[in-house]
């Protein structure tokens, strides 16, 4: 019986190890294919050139720039609102009824499918506010979409600052905001920064909402205002892989675009992970 129990344990644990291995394998295979497929076509010219001949030649510069603009919009809208909300939720409304309502709202907002955000953007920014199919409509939509992620990471960072720090500050006669500004935010900053990078990278990789708010298939120029139409990297991958005129001939372009997107998004994620690790080791309460 004892032998039996041991054998069961061995078998089950081997299975679990297999599961973990399988997941790592999936990641490696996925990255492997994209990287090896994409390197062939990747070049400076590809990154900085305009697309030509209905995207079958030339580069993806407008798509890169479009994605950067989107990130910029998200950065300037989602981040401040997210951080302010997080401060309010942790420092002012921690346990009240209103606090619960806010928490519920953020939790549910995080679960809304991205395509539904697209519908929201279409209805409100494109149609109702009259921004049309434009960079700003898409950017605002992505900002709302990333807001819950920004709030929850900032909230976690702020809540991780121990209450003893706040008490010490209050005991010295500081006001609430002075306490937050001088004693809470500085310690929470690395965490907030990490959340910011993750939110922006999430926005950079998102495709579905763009499809309803005005992403363009091909442009020979860069957008000249926030109300102009734009290209974006993730949509370019989708478009080239499913609708371009010669799917097989443009495979290298598809791979290379996917690789650029992957490098951009994973680069940011990796940076965030390293940053977090670094600061987690520094402040250990």
């Amino acid at each position: 019986m004892m032998l039996n129990r041991r054998a069961t344990e061995m078998a089950v644990f081997t299975l679990f190890r297999g599961c973990a291995l399988l997941v790592v394998l999936a990641l490696v295979v996925l990255l492997g294919y994209i990287v090896s497929g994409g390197l062939e076509r990747l070049s400076v010219e590809f990154l900085t050139g305009m697309p030509r001949r209905a995207n079958t030649e030339g580069g993806i510069f407008p798509a890169i720039v479009g994605t950067f603009y989107l990130m910029l919009i998200v950065l300037s809208i989602s981040v401040p609102i997210g951080v302010m909300s997080a401060i309010y939720m942790v420092e002012y409304e921690q346990n009240s009824l209103m606090g619960k309502v806010f928490k519920m709202a953020v939790y549910n907002l995080a679960g809304v499918p991205s395509i539904v955000y697209g519908l929201l953007g279409l209805g409100i920014f494109v149609a109702f506010l009259g921004f049309g199919f434009s960079l700003i409509s898409a950017g605002l939509t992505l900002s709302i979409m990333t807001l819950p992620l920004m709030i929850s990471s900032a909230r976690e960072a702020i809540a991780a600052v121990p209450s003893t720090v706040r008490e010490a500050s209050y005991a010295l006669g500081a006001t609430k905001w002075q306490t937050i500004w001088h004693h809470v935010l500085p310690y929470a900053l690395p965490g907030i920064f990490t959340g910011m990078i993750l939110s922006v990278s999430r926005a950079a990789g998102e495709t579905a909402p763009l499809m309803l708010t005005g992403v363009a298939m091909s442009l020979q120029r860069l957008p000249d205002s926030f109300f102009d139409s734009f290209m974006a990297l993730p949509y370019h991958v989708f478009y080239m892989a499913t609708q371009s005129s010669d799917l097989l001939a443009t495979r290298p372009i598809q791979y290379a675009t996917a690789l650029v997107l992957l490098l951009l998004v994973l680069g940011m994620n990796l940076f965030a992970i390293v940053l977090r690790k670094r600061y987690r080791d520094r402040y250990r309460w």
């Binding site: 019986m1 004892m2 129990r5 041991r6």
Partner: protein
């Protein structure tokens, strides 16, 4: 007197921290042995070696021998699970499972089953419901908890008071019928009345079991133990009959500690 446990030059390292520095000790059967010493001196580390609980701590290495019945439990071909079945442990903070009182006590017997026939290497089978009920009742009675819980066996173990929880943990350990029971400061989270109950229980248990108890409460050690070991900074400083240790300590450190001149 028979030796139940013999440790021989036992060293424990937590990464580079040398927490136990060569402890050699004999623990006698059917006695209560108390392990005392200031906090951080390696008491817990020591008794956790006896049922190999230190295996669970990342970065922890154990060197040296722990002989139980003449067999070194640190040997590679010894099954750690079997060691722990034979050597039970009760922890500082009561840790009942978030299951019913009944399930808490029945947990161990269920895992191990019963030996079918008495001829040495019997096959094991599952307990019948009757047998299990009996074991649960017997163990709870033995742990002096039966009367308090017999009407609410299906309530969660976590719903009991601290002292009751600790007796439940003792009953749970008794139910697997170990030979040795290790107690790591079992009363430090309890009030004086609950503590007194557990102390009575410990003294009663030594009829059937070998008991090792870590305590930082010297009065407790004096009240209930037959032999006492004094640890300091990872060394076993002195061991002897409890009376002797408290009345005529041989070592300067020991005297300083029991007279309260050392933290």
């Amino acid at each position: 007197m028979t030796i139940a446990i013999r440790t021989d030059d036992l060293h424990v390292y937590f990464d580079k921290n040398h927490a136990l520095k060569g402890v050699s000790m004999d623990i006698e059967m059917n006695q209560v042995t108390a392990v005392i010493g200031p906090s951080g001196c390696g008491k817990s580390t020591f008794i956790r070696c006896i049922n190999r609980m230190n295996d669970l701590i990342p970065g922890c290495t154990v060197k040296g021998k722990v002989l139980v019945d003449g067999m070194d439990i640190n040997d590679d071909d010894v099954d750690v699970v079997d060691v722990r079945r034979r050597i039970g442990m009760v922890f500082q903070k009561p840790n009942p499972f978030p299951k019913s009182i009944y399930e808490n006590v029945a947990y161990g017997p269920r895992l191990h089953g019963v030996v079918e026939t008495g001829n040495g290497k019997g096959r094991r089978r599952k307990h019948t419901k009757r047998e299990l009920d009996e074991i649960v009742e017997h163990s709870l009675r033995r742990a002096a908890l039966w009367d308090e819980v017999k009407d609410r066996m299906d309530k969660s173990g976590t719903s009991l008071s601290g002292g009751q929880q600790q007796r439940l943990c003792i009953a749970r350990t008794l139910a697997v019928d170990p030979e040795i029971i290790l107690f790591d400061e079992p009363c430090s989270a309890l009030d004086p009345i609950a503590t007194a109950k557990i102390e009575d229980l410990l003294v009663d248990l030594k009829k059937d079991y070998t008991v090792v108890i870590v305590t930082h409460n010297m009065q407790q050690a004096a009240r209930i133990s037959d032999r006492t070991a004094f640890f300091y900074l990872g060394d076993l400083i002195e061991m002897g009959d409890t009376k002797q240790i408290f009345e005529r300590p041989q070592k300067e450190f020991t005297e300083q500690y029991i007279t309260g001149r050392m933290g």
